[in-house]
Symmetry: C2
Subunit: 459 residues, 2 copies
């Protein structure tokens, strides 16, 4: 434990009692996310129950110059919670109340620790749902902080579109509400969007107001195999160009299908696949499916295999959501190294094919899965982070993948965020933008206490 923080730790213990923990096991649990990034324990972990308690915590930390690291479920991918400079992990899991739901306004307000599945359980009988679905059952606060998305983003948007308003605690303890509950607003700078994606480096997200959506009358999911990746991608491009509001359209390459077959006990043919879902009225879902199945046939896609009842549909998407675990299971005791580029969709087939050629050069097996309607895909090798030679090779592969995505007009991260892992790539992507981000970070967190060393380096 860093000696300097003793005063802060004593004050925090007085404030939080048993909801303050310095035990090795709890600190270790808060030392890492689900990625390969090396763990780093915080000095202590706080479990606040209210926004005003988070504000008190921030005042104590600021007085003692102790870093603060907001922690949701620890399921992210770029080392965003790892405490490389020590400090206090602020675990939001006890702030798990749904504060209000309005079915008429199709919105709700939750504490940051509410998870996406918990929220959907809570609101289901009101005819509304919350669509954003990263693989893990992440917390809403963490999802807002990383601008998360998932399989429904092509139709319903990402956390950028889903968040109506935030209540944030700043480094000095000030509590800021970023916006009203109105569905649209031109009231000054978009503070909401400034905090969405700020990864805990500008403040602690404590409460989140969210847009919800009507549960559709009909939902149909289907699977379609293709003889080529291009055929699958072309099908999606034409689907979107025709204005079909497809709800989900996920690409898995043959290696990913193999991993899913093994992990989730499926028997899909070892070919590139699209997993699709349509939302609407019965007639409209039928018409959408007909349009897309015709487009798929034009591109050598198979007939659709339908998951018609709720159980089959859930099993299908659970298999997709478990893809990261399936990739990890391809090798014992491995960690996953999930890449996350996103390119304009016209570039997607080329980007994936060049990447497949690169994978072949490594001699490793790396599955590819993607939110193809958004141009976003993941290559997910299972790695041994302690093997320096292997990690060097993977890092080189990763750097090459990102260079390719940037050359094609894309981004180094579609949904995982920058965290610890992608700071250098962010500088490649937005060199002048990073300088602005640093100015904003310095202005809002002058002592660099909020999740320091993530997103941008100030030193």
């Amino acid at each position: 434990m860093t000696a300097n923080f003793t005063g802060a730790l004593n004050e925090l213990r007085r404030l939080l009692g048993s909801r303050f923990d310095t035990s090795t096991s709890v600190r270790l649990h808060h030392a890492h996310d689900e990625s390969f990034h090396l763990p780093a324990s915080p000095d202590a972990v706080a479990f606040p129950k209210s926004t005003s308690e988070v504000s008190e915590i921030a005042r104590i930390c600021m007085r003692h110059h102790m870093p603060m690291l907001p922690f949701g479920t620890g399921t992210a991918m770029e080392g965003g919670v790892n405490a490389y400079q020590g400090g206090l992990s602020i675990d939001m899991s006890l702030m798990n109340k749904v504060l209000s739901v309005s079915a008429e306004d199709m919105d709700c307000s939750v504490q940051a620790g509410v998870t996406r599945k918990q929220l959907n359980e809570y609101i289901r009988d009101q005819g509304v749902f919350f669509p954003i679905d990263p693989g893990a059952d992440a917390s809403i606060g963490g999802m807002a902080a990383t601008r998360a998305s998932g399989t429904n983003a092509v139709r319903y948007g990402t956390m950028r579109e889903a968040v109506l308003s935030l209540t944030v605690v700043m480094a000095d303890g000030k509590i800021v509400k970023t916006s009203s509950r109105a569905r649209k607003s031109a009231a000054g700078y978009d503070l909401t969007r400034l905090f969405v994606g700020s990864e805990g480096t500008l403040g602690v997200i404590c409460e989140v107001a969210l847009r919800l959506h009507a549960i559709p009358e009909a939902i149909s999911a289907a699977v379609c195999a293709f003889s080529s990746l291009q055929g699958a991608v072309e099908t999606v491009i034409q689907t979107i160009q025709m204005g079909v509001p497809i709800a989900r359209v996920e690409l898995l390459d043959a290696v990913a299908i193999d991993a899913v077959n093994r992990y989730s006990d499926k028997d899909f043919p070892l070919l590139p696949h699209l997993f699709l879902e349509f939302h609407g009225t019965n007639a409209w879902v039928k018409e959408q499916a007909e349009i897309v199945s015709e487009l798929a046939a034009d591109h050598q896609g198979s007939d659709f295999t339908w998951a018609l009842n709720t159980e089959d549909r859930k099993a299908l998407w659970q298999a997709r959501h478990d893809f990261a675990y399936a990739a990890s299971a391809m090798r014992p005791n491995a960690r996953i190294f999930s890449t996350d580029v996103c390119v304009p969709i016209s570039q997607l087939a080329d980007c994936i094919l060049e990447t497949v050629a690169d994978i072949e050069k490594t001699g490793l097996s790396m599955p590819i899965a993607g939110h193809v309607g958004d141009g976003n895909f993941h290559v997910v090798p299972a790695v041994d982070p302690t093997d320096a030679v292997e990690m060097k090779m993977i890092e080189a592969f990763h750097a090459s993948l990102i260079r390719r995505a940037l050359r094609m007009g894309g981004t180094c991260t579609g949904e995982h965020g920058i965290g610890q892992g992608k700071k250098k790539y962010l500088m490649d992507e937005l060199p002048a933008g990073v300088e602005l981000m640093k100015i904003i970070k310095r202005a809002l967190d002058p002592d660099n206490l909020m999740n320091p060393g993530k997103v941008v380096d100030l030193i």
Copy 2:
């Protein structure tokens, strides 16, 4: 002309030649928008042709401490372009090139001076369109700067959702690209959204990359009269709750219908109306219309009157878009005082009815029109800004309307922005938020040169 700026004006004239103007008539043209706010001329007007020229202009202005006021088409509503502190109006109308269009990616890139109608003309034969439609034929840069929306926002979102990336010139002349062209990204702070809605106070928006949408196979528009405002609003709430992706749903009260009838030579019955539009395939448009017409009938709505061919449809929406001019025409030589609150839709009927009671107390005739699917509505009295007594009464009415909207969880502006007119109301709406906005403004524009005195006051 302010003497201090002589050096700057000389340098700007050398840089821009005939594209630099200090004539009274040109300065007067740049002294105001379309609102009642009193005009204030800039010291000069620049007409740059490129982003690098805007950067040169900013360097000169910064050196001489001369305010810079970006100017699009001068069609805004809150005095955002009025030069209350003098300075240089930067008129973007010569930066009117469409830089690229990708129908596959459904996006485009334009210079800031391109207008929304110009863009739609340019891209129409590629099967795509740009949906955001404030009443005026505004510039894309101005629309981004004010986070504009319009009648299509309920389906397609506002400029917040439409802008993919911006190229901005900062107060010191630095050129910043805010994002890649990827459809989604988690690459650091959302600089794009920070500038969308910043109203020229953080930098000059020079280039804009936009999302486009597929032109639907079928478009049908209809008009429906209601015996009560509540009936109209309830119809819309239930439409959205059922997940019907209605493209446009506009409310006009009986007074607004009267103004439209006179200005646009229509003969709608003097009742509250919904103007509606459905987009999709032929079958899907038919089904949506059936669902909504049944809901309307449940709420004492009339049968739908259809505008089936393109010409009738255009005439219908032109009448809606000309509403502000129709309101203005209700009184000779008047200016319009357009209010712009937005509330959660469950509060909309109450908010409008309480407002109607308030209008009755004034004894004036004030039409109401609203983007009812978003909860956003305008009360638009035609005023004489030189009549102090009348203006005082209207200001009191306005203040009461905004208090009501804030009490109901809404915002003081749904789409017009803060500009000069709503700074005090922004402080009521987001007291802690305004303090953050000031910190951001000071950090990014330390000399307060970018459209000073708008959105937030630093002094």
